[in-house]
Subunit: 362 residues, 2 copies
């Protein structure tokens, strides 16, 4: 078991990573002195697989536990769902101190964190991520959000959890597509920040796909460490440091949106977005062929896509421009100078972006 | 014109107070470099009275202005209204930087601040309060909120505005009931923190009721100064300092709720709540008759109620217990040792509370 610390002054918290450690959750929350009434937001499938373990772990430490099940779909990340959950929670919260436990993947984590941020001007919450993607990325760092029909993650807050507990044992029940989706973010960490880790992935990717320990535990630990270090330097993405975590996301989000969130899942779209960011880096003379080929090879080996199917270039560009409202009128790309070396560049000519997208279209 | 500074490190901001200064708003926002697209949340009656002035003041400094009118009722402080306003705002926010201007009383300020806090994980907003209550109290300090059917202000955030501009000239269009409602909070500041100011109010209350300058400008300035000083010491009400601003509010909120928010407006209920808190202070031997009589006299002179009509004692106690969920199972009262000297006491015996309420029932 490993305990990492994310230092944010009085909003600091621990990230606990280990195999079959979910039974320790109650003990760790107890230490925080944030109440005894746990309101667990999850979905039916996660509850069926791991609900008893979580419940026992909490009950043993004297917690009251209430499970709230929500549909397992991105559509659950809505203001209407948040509102309906809060109304249910007020019935449970009778003159006591309620804490929220986000027990699921990215959707549940984002939604539960958002609810915790606005209920009574903020109550404590804990992330217990159950997917690789959530353990290495979305569960850490306090970005909470719900979607609007006008755009994903349009409502939200920066609101840190009081604890993240990543039980890598839970990952063993994931299907290959879910593991691959998380792996896109794992590869991202290597590319932007950690060449040694990238080399580790090149050598050990098969162990990860086979859900073997200690490989799984190691990658969750290494990625959590990188993310924690970046977040504590730039919690609110104001200094251009946290920005590098968006590597592959600028065009990746556009591909996701152009495919109406059905054609590609998040990880697949990010993999394609990374390839395009690599090609732009090459065109701008920032990096060379060898580097880009290593990245492309690893993406291919883990089974992530390297070609964009059934989506047109103009549709991606259109979605990209809609997304740009999040950052003002100028575009901003995270590019690379080499494995482990990310740089930020603004105002990339549209012509170059279009050409780089074209290369990956079928 | 006076400029106060509320110091909260990187969330610091200015409170600008003056007579007929609304035309300066654009100039001050411009200095903050927070965009040129102003989305003004207000209601039809305020827009009719002061909309042109605000619009001109902003246009002269090169701002684009869009007015969003909402119904003039507490019911507007809902998550559904917030959601509908945000959807309208996304149509205005096309790849640009939008800033929100809350142009109204407490309802508009709380709602607009809440929207600013959650849209894109926080965008800048400015308070331009148009009621005495909002200028001296709710417009300052970053408490934003919407109501649920389960309780008032149940959803919200601590989220500071970038500027507060209080044009006391706007107060001249208020009716006497609105002025009185604000005066309850004004008197509160004297009682909890500033004996000299309390004496000033005893001498000059008629000028205030007559909406005379410089009296109006002076009280807004003095109260804003007290509030700013308290907020900068305890932004999130964690240290027991900001808590004293709740003087009169513990039972006041219960009276408001027991009267279904119709029998008494906020200021009237707070006036009654202050009287009951005074009586509890007396019963606990914290203060004497003379002090309590001075407070009661001032409340009476400005036309605020000193008797609770058509609400029963048990109904107030019931509402008080419902409200207690906000602070755990123990009650907590702000009491006084004398004019200008507030103290906090926990676990006041129910018997004493009941007796003190009884005294003011008709």
């Amino acid at each position: 078991m490993h305990i990492l610390k994310l230092n944010l002054k009085k909003h600091s918290y621990s990230i606990i990573i280990g195999n079959n450690i979910i039974n320790l959750l109650g003990r760790y929350i107890l230490k925080l002195n944030i109440g005894r009434d746990a309101y667990v937001i999850t979905n039916a499938s996660i509850k069926k697989k791991h609900g008893r373990l979580l419940n026992n772990g909490l009950k043993q430490s004297g917690f009251n536990v209430r499970f709230k099940l929500i549909p397992d779909t991105e559509k659950s990340k809505s203001i209407e769902m948040a509102s309906s959950i809060i109304k249910d929670m007020t019935l449970y919260d009778r003159g006591r101190r309620v804490l929220i436990i986000a027990f699921g993947g990215g959707v549940i984590g984002d939604l539960a964190g958002f609810i915790a941020s606005i209920y009574k001007r903020g109550i404590p919450y804990t992330q217990v991520p159950t997917t690789l993607l959530a353990q290495v990325d979305s569960g850490i760092g306090g970005k909470t959000a719900v979607d609007l029909t006008q755009g994903k993650n349009l409502l939200g807050a920066f609101y840190q959890p009081r604890l993240v507990l990543s039980d890598v044992g839970l990952l063993k029940t994931l299907n290959i597509r879910q593991i691959q989706s998380g792996l896109a973010e794992v590869i991202k960490y290597g590319v932007i920040k950690d060449a040694e880790f990238f080399t580790y992935l090149e050598k050990n990717y098969q162990d990860i796909l086979d859900l073997k320990m200690p490989a799984l535990e190691f990658i969750v630990m290494r990625c959590s460490g990188i993310k924690a270090k970046i977040v504590q330097q730039d919690e609110r993405e104001e200094k251009g440091i946290r920005t590098i975590l968006n590597f592959g996301h600028t065009i990746g989000h556009a591909i996701e949106a152009a495919g109406r969130y059905k054609r590609y899942n998040h990880g697949q779209a990010i993999a394609l977005g990374m390839l395009i960011a690599c090609d732009i880096s090459k065109k701008l003379g920032l990096t060379n062929n060898t580097t880009v080929e290593r990245i492309e090879n690893l993406i291919k080996k883990v089974g992530l896509p390297t070609k964009i199917e059934k989506i047109s270039g103009p549709d991606i560009i259109k979605a990209h421009y809609r997304d740009k409202k999040f950052m003002g009128l100028k575009n901003k790309f995270v590019l690379i100078k080499g494995i482990g070396k990310a740089v930020i560049r603004k105002n990339i000519p549209l012509k170059i972006i279009k050409e780089s997208i074209k290369i990956y279209l079928i």
